[in-house]
Structure formats: C-alpha cells, structure tokens
C-alpha cells in the first residue's frame, strides 16, 4: 500500500532569521539518509522538498475562467514543506516512518493513503 507523507512546518520558520545554514544542512542530510534507507528497504517511491511559500501561485476559477494570482490558497499558520510517497506493508509502518522524521525535525506530518487504480477484491 502506498502512503503520502505531508510534512508541515510553521509558516514563519521559513522566514525567521534564526534558521541557520547549518540547520538547513542538517535537515537536508537527514532527508538524504532517510531516502537512502527507504530505498534500501524497498519502500521508497518518491520525495520532494518544496520551495519557500513566497513562491506560491494559486490558480482559481474567477468568473468562469482560470486566473493565476500570487500567494497561497489559504493563509495558514502551517505550510506544506515536503512530501514523500512510501510503499509499505501496513498503515502502521507508514506512521512509523513518519514518526522518525517528526522525531528529528519536530514538524507535523499527515499520513494519507493513496488511491489505487485497481479494483478492490470481489466483483
């Protein structure tokens, strides 16, 4: 079963001046290791980190036509900072993987099952 791990961070962490280069490096190193381990265990599908939320553009329908504007869809205290997809034996295993990241970064992670293109079991 595939699960999407959505990592959130408080929106102002991005811009706070006390986030040092070392801290960013530390997190990058952790994620590189995380990805390596999950690849080796045969559970990794994909993972990406997202750019600073100031780069966000939102496309919505205005008066029947799509219009792009600068800025996020909702102004939130929490913002999405990265996402990973894992292919694991159980929901518990997905949560266990998320817990490792949370333990390290202190960020909050949402774990969500990915829809399948297959049918379920019986006709």
């Amino acid at each position: 079963m595939k699960y999407l791990l959505l990592a959130y961070t408080s929106a102002n962490t991005w811009t706070e001046e006390d986030v040092s280069a070392e801290e960013v490096q530390r997190i990058c190193d952790f994620y590189a290791q995380f990805e390596k381990e999950l690849t080796e265990s045969g559970e990794w599908v994909g993972s990406e980190g997202l750019a600073d939320p100031s780069h966000t553009r939102t496309v919505r329908k205005v008066g029947g036509a799509p219009v792009a504007t600068d800025g996020p869809y909702v102004e939130a205290k929490e913002t999405l900072v990265s996402f990973s997809i894992v292919d694991v034996a159980s929901y518990d295993r997905a949560v266990e993987i998320a817990a490792r990241v949370v333990d390290f970064t202190g960020e909050t992670i949402e774990v969500r099952p990915v829809m399948q293109v297959d049918f379920g079991g019986d006709d």
Binding site: E40, E43, W44, M115, D118, G121
Partner: protein, 416 residues
C-alpha cells in the same frame, strides 16, 4: 549496441525468458543475470553480421548456459560460492541436462517457488522474488507493475535474496512438516500476484505487466509440479474462472461493473471450461480446501446464463463451508449477500450486525447499501453507498459506488 529496433525489441522480450530458463535450471540468480548479459552482448555482436537465428531464444539460452557453466566452474565463482550461500546448488545439479532441451517444468520451478516464499520474507518480498526468479520478469518490469522506482524494487529483491541466504535455506525441498505451510505461502503469493494484476482500467494501465496472466502461468507451473494436490488445482481453477469475467468487469467510462450487471456474452468461455474441468477433476479426489471452495463458487457464477439463473442456495452452502476454513469478516460479508439472495435482503442485513470487526471497511458499507437497495430503502441505501465511496481506496470502485448512489437519488454530483 547498434541494433535495429526490431532486433532490440526481440532481445528485450527474450531476455527475461532466457533468465527464467537459466534460473529454473541453475537456481543462481546473481550468476544467471551475468550470464544473460553476456549472451545479449554476443547476440548484439553476431546477429548484425550473421543474421538473426531461426530460434533466437534457443540460441540465447544456449550461449547463456555456456557462460553460466563457465562462471559456475570458475575459481571466482567458487570463491563467491564459499562467501555467499544464497541459492546454493548441490554439486550433482551440475549434471543436469542442458537448459535448452525442451522439457516440462519440473522440480526446479517448485523448488524456486518454495524458496521465494520463505517464511522469513514479507509478502511484498515473496511476491517480488517469485516474479523475478520463477516468472523471469526484469526488475524494471516488476517495478513498473507495482508503480515503484526500479532502484527501490531492485533493493527489495536484493534484500529478499540476502534474507533467504541468511536464513540458511538451501536449494532443496523443505522438511516434511514444513512443506504444507510453505505450499500455503506459495498459493497465497500466486493469489496476491493475481489480485494485483486484476486491474480493470485499461488506458492508463497499459504500461503495467499483466500480472494476472503471470499468476495464471505460475499456477499452471505449480499444478504441473503437484498434479495430485487439490488446493493447487483449486487455486488454478479460481484464477481461470475469475479471469474469465475480466472483459466484462469495466464499463466504457472506466467504472466497475458488478457481476449481476455484467454482459455475460463477454465472459471468456474457453477459460470457464478450462477452470471448471480443472475444478471437477480435483473435487472429491483429494481433501477439500478453501481455494477449491472459492473456485466452486466462481464456477457457479460463471455457469449462470443470466443473473437470475445463479444457484444461490448452493453458493450459500459453499460460503457456510468456507467459513470453517476462513472465518474472516470478508467471508462473512460475502455469505451475507448469499443469505440475502436466498432468504431476502432483510435476512442478509441481519447477518451484517455481527461484523463490528470490520469497523469502517468500505466493503461493509457497500454490501449494506446493496441490501438496503434490494429491500427498497432508497434513502438509507444512498447514504450507505456514499459512505462506502468515501472509504474505498480504489478509484474505479469509488466511481461505481457513486453511480449507484446517484441512481437512487436526485443525481447530484458525488462528494469528495
């Protein structure tokens, strides 16, 4: 390699077949892969000059077998054999006939199946290793079939091989008492592969290897190796009888079509006869088991020219029997449908009361919705369909459930 595309395609198509033949013959994955690579290089060098041989696969297997024998006998391989015991081969196996002699799959495939389904492996690893070793699929193909990166699948397979090696499993049949447990694991893995491949939406999924056909092929190999085992025959029959309905399983818009609404003209009669014959030959000959019972249920569905011709009393009796082997909520759920068809929807709904164990499983709500619809309670049926649609993780199933809900209501768009 500078090959014309048809030749390159041919090599790509044949490579896994050649690898499969070698692995079945020698049991050494790591060496077999190197040997197949050598044969492919030789083909790339010689075929453009000499032309494509009449039997390209035989040519490749012959060259790869020679390479493999050289490798196995070389000092280097001996050292490696001492260092790594996985897929170790007893010395007498070197006296086996050449890999390119035409022959029935024999104990090699059975041994490999048993080895791939080693109890120290997770189900996902058993599945991957089985497809690789016995199915002869490439890592890339297996990765595509399971929609994961090739590197991830490669690691999954390597780790599985290492785990089997660490457990000290030799390339021989498990001991007496273990055989039964291991065979059950093999049956389950083949069933899992089939289910994984029982994909209905064509278009987007054309790139996926047809795992259902692969599972049927594996079931046939197992059946040839163990012709007297009723459950082996039962599994093969179940897969054939289920696969027979596949052409009717999906609507033009990609939604799931339940069995009662399928166009039975589109069922594959050839598969139905084969599956039914296989089941009949195994029934009463050996002890009964869950796969034979499930196959018998599938056969009864397939035998009905119209849904109203379905022998529901017999299906109900079979589900009652199946519960003795498997009292999982899913069996209870399917039995509840049979109860409803025999004694009426309310009787079926009564059966669902004992299924608290399923909690929020979508199938429980889907069945409840179906029975409420039969009972004429449109409002309750509609909300149960919607609840099931919210809970399912299958895209085509979700569409089907929303269709059902809309049919009962005012046809408003489905909720997310």
């Amino acid at each position: 390699m500078h090959l014309d595309p048809p030749t390159e395609d041919l090599l790509r198509r044949e490579a896994p077949q050649v690898l499969g033949a070698l692995v079945r013959r020698y049991g050494r994955f790591d060496v077999a892969e190197d040997a197949v690579q050598e044969a492919l290089l030789a083909a790339a060098r010689q075929w453009p000059v000499d032309g494509i041989p009449e039997k390209p696969r035989g040519w490749l297997i012959r060259v790869a077998s020679r390479a493999m024998t050289d490798m196995l006998h070389s000092q280097f391989a001996r050292q490696r054999r001492e260092e790594q015991v996985h897929f170790a081969i007893p010395p007498d196996r070197f006296l086996a006939p050449a890999a390119d002699t035409v022959r029935q799959p024999e104990d090699d495939s059975l041994l490999l199946l048993f080895l791939c389904c080693h109890p120290s492996l997770s189900a996902a690893s058993q599945v991957a290793l089985t497809l690789r070793a016995v199915g002869g699929l490439t890592t890339e193909e297996i990765a595509r079939a399971f929609l994961v990166p090739a590197a991830t699948m490669g690691q999954r397979i390597s780790r599985a091989k290492a785990t089997v090696a660490k457990s000290g499993a030799a390339f021989r049949m498990p001991a007496g008492s273990e055989v039964e447990a291991r065979l059950r694991a093999v049956l389950r893995v083949i069933y899992l592969i089939f289910n994984e491949g029982y994909v209905a939406s064509a278009g987007a999924e054309l790139t996926r290897i047809d795992l259902s056909s692969e599972a049927i092929r594996l079931a046939r190999i197992l059946r040839q190796a163990l012709p007297d085992d009723g459950e082996v025959a039962g599994l093969a029959a179940l897969l054939l009888l289920t696969e027979a309905r596949r052409p009717a399983r999906v609507a033009a818009d990609g939604a799931a079509v339940p069995i009662a609404e399928q166009d039975r003209e589109r069922w594959d009669r050839r598969l139905i006869s084969e599956g039914t014959a296989l089941l009949d030959s195994s029934m009463g000959v050996t002890r009964l088991g869950p796969y034979q019972i499930q196959a018998a249920i599938a056969a009864l569905h397939d035998a009905a020219p119209r849904p109203t011709d379905t022998d529901w009393p017999q299906i109900l009796a079979l589900y009652t029997l199946l519960q003795r082997y498997d009292d999982s909520p899913m069996v209870t759920l399917n039995r509840a449908v049979a109860v409803a068809m025999v004694r009426g929807p309310r009787a079926g709904l009564d059966q669902l009361r004992d299924l608290d164990g399923l909690g929020d499983h979508h199938r429980l709500h889907a069945v409840r919705a179906h029975l409420l619809e039969l009972a004429g309670d449109r409002g309750a049926a509609r909300s149960a369909y919607r609840q099931a649609a919210r809970l399912t993780l299958s895209v085509p199933e979700r569409r089907h459930l929303l269709h059902r809900a809309d049919r009962l209501g005012d046809g408003t768009a489905g909720t997310r």
